[in-house]
């Protein structure tokens, strides 16, 4: 089994008030030198069977039509190797 990660972010030109609220809190917490924060969503998909080109194409369609609204958001699709998945589970 392999894990495919879909990251969804608001398009750069769209205001992200949640990210701004996080950024404004940073100096109060003693974190300096962070000029901008943008908040997004991460989806971890556990895929049955091989993550081949066909599977990735299906996940790309899923991300484009459902996980992201491409009117307001951008997305990326990444395959995490099985080692990474196993390591992360420890």
């Amino acid at each position: 089994m392999a894990r495919v990660v879909v990251d969804v972010m608001l398009k750069p030109e769209i205001l992200d008030p949640q990210g701004q609220a996080v950024q404004r809190a940073l100096p109060r917490l003693g974190f300096e030198g962070i000029s901008d924060v943008r908040q997004g969503k991460r989806f971890e998909l556990e895929v049955d069977g091989p993550v081949d080109e066909a599977a990735l194409a299906r996940i790309h369609d899923l991300a484009e039509s459902f996980l992201a609204n491409t009117v307001i958001e951008d997305f990326t699709v990444k395959v995490e190797s099985e080692d990474v998945v196993a390591g992360a589970a420890k």
Binding site: L15, P17, Q18, F66, N69, V71, I72
Partner: protein, 226 residues
């Protein structure tokens, strides 16, 4: 014979009963529609009402947009069926790409509930013909994700074609671009807005005025005269 107007109930819809009541007050016959049912029961128009369908999970309206009833609503809206989306219904219409742009969280990050002043910018749609262009109305607004956004080209197109149907007056309650409270598709049969006309159809409740009633009398006249 009067017009039959469907009101869809999704899991998490809140204003289906108020919307049915507003339709009845206007003199039309409300027809309850169910999210799992592709059948629109031969209604003459459909209202997607307010609430938090599917808990607003993923994005407001994103899951409702893929419900069985929406397959039929999307097909028929493209063929000319009048559809009004109020609040969550507006969000569903943008997610379904029946209306351009998208809806995001209010810029101040809080839920807001207030009597809102609007200007009717387009009185030529199926749902606004009983207003006068430029008319100012007060109807309730209550939402978390009311910030209308679209890219510059889409905004310019909406403005140039007169497709901004309603604009916030005096106060922009959610950071919507160009103070947009509601828009229409090019054909004028699909209209969406964030404020709630169905809560302002009787003088006893809402804003104490009946400023929302013309939505429902507009569509009734259009359907009965058709």
């Amino acid at each position: 014979m009067t017009a039959r107007i469907g009101v869809v109930t999704f899991p998490g819809s809140l204003d289906d009963r108020d919307t049915q009541r507003a339709i009845r007050v206007a003199g039309a016959e409300p027809v309850a529609l169910w999210h799992k049912d592709k059948d629109l029961k031969q209604v003459d128009a459909v209202v997607l009402c307010g609430g938090f369908s599917y808990g607003d999970y993923l994005r407001a309206g994103a899951i409702a947009r893929f419900s069985p009833v929406m397959d039929t609503v999307i097909d028929q809206a493209k063929a000319g069926l009048p559809v009004l989306g109020i609040c969550n219904g507006f969000q569903i219409l943008t997610e379904a790409h029946l209306l351009p742009g998208g809806m995001l969280g209010n810029d101040h990050l809080h839920f807001i509930c207030r009597d809102q002043k609007l200007r009717v910018e387009n009185a030529d749609t199926s749902w606004t013909s009983d207003y006068a262009a430029g008319q100012e109305i007060h109807i309730p607004l209550k939402n978390m994700d009311g910030r209308y956004v679209a890219d510059r080209r889409t905004l310019d197109e909406l403005e140039a074609e007169g497709r901004v149907a309603f604009r916030y007056l005096d106060f922009n309650p959610n950071g919507s671009l160009n103070d947009i409270a509601g828009i229409t598709n090019a054909a004028g049969n699909v209209v969406g807005l964030m404020p709630h006309p169905e809560h302002a159809v009787e003088s006893l409740i809402g804003t104490g005025r009946t400023d929302g009633l013309p939505f429902f009398t507009s569509i009734l006249k259009k359907l009965v005269n058709a």
